[in-house]
Symmetry: C2
Subunit: 341 residues, 2 copies
Amino acid sequence: MSTYAIVMAGGAGTRFWPASRAKTPKQLLPLGADPNESLLGATLRRIEPIVPAERVYIATGAHLAEATAAIAPNAKILAEPVPRNTAPCIGWASQVIESVDPEAVIMVLPSDHYIADEPGFVEVLLRAVQSAQRGIITTIGVVPTRPETGYGYIEAGEEIAPGVKRGVRFVEKPDRARAEEYVASGRFLWNAGMFFFKAAAMREAIARHLPELASGLAGDVITNFPTLPSISIDHGVMEKLDELAVVPGDFGWNDVGNWQSAWELAAKDQDGNALPPGAVAVQSRNNLVRAPSGKVYALVGVSDLVVVETADAVLVMSREQSQDVRYVVDALKDRKRTDLV
Amino acid sequence: MSTYAIVMAGGAGTRFWPASRAKTPKQLLPLGADPNESLLGATLRRIEPIVPAERVYIATGAHLAEATAAIAPNAKILAEPVPRNTAPCIGWASQVIESVDPEAVIMVLPSDHYIADEPGFVEVLLRAVQSAQRGIITTIGVVPTRPETGYGYIEAGEEIAPGVKRGVRFVEKPDRARAEEYVASGRFLWNAGMFFFKAAAMREAIARHLPELASGLAGDVITNFPTLPSISIDHGVMEKLDELAVVPGDFGWNDVGNWQSAWELAAKDQDGNALPPGAVAVQSRNNLVRAPSGKVYALVGVSDLVVVETADAVLVMSREQSQDVRYVVDALKDRKRTDLV
């Protein structure tokens, strides 16, 4: 019984503009601690000890297939003709893998997250794979470190195997008060979008809970793709399962949500600055500058800024307003500057 | 009796780094209100109605001669082999002009200042020229608008002709309390480095007050230049004159001292931003962005910044700390990055 991975690499995030564009979304960018490794590249490297590249299936958009293959030359690329959310994508990839190996155990992983404790992460992965091998669809729940309102949560029940708990229910992004309750209870974990199952178990779950998807997958998938129901695996399958396992994990997870996260993850000098080589900083603290141009950056009397230079654009932003970069993307779309977004 | 101009264009300012460099100092940059006109170009255009280009002598460094001639193709360029402050430069240029026109009346003007009220300025120039024609060395004193400690002052006495006063004395940059006294008195004016004289009057003043300079100028000036006394015309001549006239002027003068001044002078939108074409500003106020690269600039949640991009460097600075850009230049010199300064 071999382990396979489906790596979800279809994201089209605008939260890292101007570095991220429609054709170079977040997972293709070096937004983790190593400025020379893309988030997708780091994802593949982390699982390499337990899932060799030839058993990795990367699900991405057709327009990203080439750039994705450049990062992962030995993986299989599944190019979705149109984006239809995660359930069709996972259903399709599972079916492809089952056709190759009917006994396959599959892990589904996002391609655009950061993990600080890589050995700890692999340990949790192995535990989740073991759980899936026992026939139960399994997820990882990240032990929360703050009452975050931007993530969904998973309620965990009693232990059903060493380090594995019963998954009671998925809950949507909570408000602040609810999030504080969740964290205080010790029973709630963050949903990080990682799922583990035998190929047959997922096929059966889709047949039962998403019959429309199952019949679409039975025919010519590429042709049918635009007609498949656009629904997440969470809503379409996970939330409806009679039985679910969850493996709590605490491995320094970061979803790299925006430039603020990138500053948190970047290697910084004693003044909290993450700057390109040769930069000069005068009375300046806690800034992130990303500029592959090679220009010499000089900062004077500025703090808590994000500066990102690309070949055609420069962003200068208050780090605390990192989520507002979307207003820039909106403004550029309004002006029909599709070359810039 | 014709009027000539000596335009002092030898400045090597570092206060506009990264736009200003050893080979592109301040006067060659478009730092006034018009982003397409250099300060030197504006200086020449302002005096054109009263001093045509062929009677303009631009004193500059040999390394700047070519770039200066490109801006002023019809003016005469006097290229100093080494910088020796203003007295040798003015003595030399006056002598050259006197050899062409023994009756010449000469105005000495800085090349790197901004003037808002150009007709008002020309009126003051004409009054100063008239005063000089009467044989008295004359200066312009700018009516102070604040107790500035960064400029020298001229004390004015009684009126000796309509709009012309007796120059009592030059005083050095004062401390704050002294500057406040000066402004309150109504008798003190800013020294803006503008001087007016008959060629013969300056020759005689130099012979009397700077005999060492006079004898150096008597021989081969280019050969002698490195041996001439390095002294300002203010210290060497003006302060020692028995008789001096000063014309008070109030014409929106700005010495364009640093990027703060450039922001003050720039055309700004309703949020106080001076940005390149196509820029997007979200919750951002009172910023200056200079970027001839054509890149699209996006500002998010930032205020009171100066951002300057050149082909090889980018400055991001708190506008209020504009004077501190020199620390960047110092740091780059320490690192032997002479390519950048």
